[in-house]
């Protein structure tokens, strides 16, 4: 086992796995709506085409980042992770406090199905539109997964391990989705988003700091302390936001 397994590799793979579950569940809802409304052929073709493009982005961009000096790369990736992770954490805190509504997969499925059913035209045109809907959903949701895989993987040369985390999430959602054959509404999307927001924010601060020349006490162990700080702060902020929000509407 590598010496930094628990401090870097495990959090990196876990973050990509959990983030991918959130995104793949959302994409699966749309693909399921396409499959049940217009047949599985456009749904599968659209999904495979989008997955191919996403895989190509990882294969091209991932190794290319190795040519950038490590401090520059850590600063660049760190800042992007900070922006992305804190954005997710902010949204998850607001949802957990009841300020923003939770994402509803059943509603998303109903909306997509209604939109597909409202379209008119020749059967081939409808199949084409359905395929594009599946393609777009997988591509757009997959973009976030690709970013997380590349960003988390590039900072410490864990591209393949991070990709494995994302692929495992895809496989899990597909297997469960194929078994239940309905939107995966029971997945605790906001809790996962909260956890991933915490981890990505911690990675973001850590790598931005390293890129700037910060000497973290305990080196990689500091990641755990940073994640704990963001977790405790996030829970505290959610309580504070809920209290303020409920007081204002009372």
């Amino acid at each position: 086992m590598p010496p930094d397994f628990w401090t870097v590799m495990f959090p990196a793979i876990t973050a990509t796995f959990l983030a991918s579950i959130v995104e793949v569940v959302e994409a699966f809802t749309i693909v399921l709506a396409v499959g049940t409304t217009r047949g599985w052929r456009p749904a599968i073709v659209g999904t495979i085409a989008a997955l191919g493009i996403l895989a190509l982005v990882v294969i091209i961009l991932g190794p290319a980042l190795q040519f950038i000096p490590i401090h520059v790369l850590q600063l660049f990736v760190g800042v992007l992770l900070l922006l992305f992770g804190m954005g997710w954490l902010r949204k998850a805190v607001l949802r957990s406090a009841g300020v923003l509504p939770l994402h509803d997969e059943i509603e998303a499925f109903a909306e997509e199905t209604a939109e597909l059913q409202s379209q008119t035209g020749a059967p081939q045109t409808l199949q084409w539109i359905a395929g594009i809907a599946a393609f777009k959903a997988v591509l757009l949701e997959g973009l976030e997964v690709v970013f997380i895989v590349i960003a988390v993987g590039a900072g410490k040369g864990l591209l393949w391990e991070a990709s494995l985390g994302a692929l495992a999430a895809c496989a899990l959602v597909l297997v469960v989705g194929a078994a239940v054959h309905k939107p995966l509404a029971l997945v605790p999307e906001n809790t996962l988003k909260f956890g991933v927001g915490v981890m990505l924010s911690a990675f973001g601060v850590f790598w931005t700091g390293e890129g700037l020349g910060v000497e973290w006490p305990g080196a990689d162990l500091m990641l755990i302390a940073l994640a704990a700080a963001f977790l405790l702060a996030g829970i505290g902020f959610a309580r504070m936001a809920r209290t303020k929000f409920e007081r204002s509407i009372a």
Binding site: V79, L80, L82, L83, F84, M86, G87, L89, R90, K91, V93, L94, A97, V99, L100, I132, F135, K136, L139, L140, L143, E144, F147, S201, G204, V205, T208, G209, L212, G213, V214, E215, W216, P217, M222, L226, A229, F230, A233, G234, F237, M240, A241, K244, F245, S248, I249
Partner: protein, 72 residues
């Protein structure tokens, strides 16, 4: 073309979910970089400042959204 437009919109949304939060984070990183460059703070203090700054701007972004929702 719509798909390419949507891809760029999605990429923008990924990093700029809240413009003020994004600008505050970027400002904080630049500030810490200047403090380190001028050697006004030690590398350890710079790291702690960056962490603290991120937590403060996150709290501000959350409370601002609560206030905005209250006024709607």
């Amino acid at each position: 073309m719509t798909i390419i437009g949507d891809v760029f919109k999605e990429l923008f949304k990924m990093f700029v979910a809240d413009l003020r939060l994004t600008l505050a984070i970027l400002g904080g990183v630049i500030l810490v970089a200047i403090l380190l460059q001028k050697a006004w703070v030690s590398p350890l203090v710079a790291g702690l400042l960056l962490t603290l700054f991120c937590l403060v701007v996150l709290a501000e972004a959350i409370l601002r959204e609560v206030r905005n929702r209250n006024h709607k």
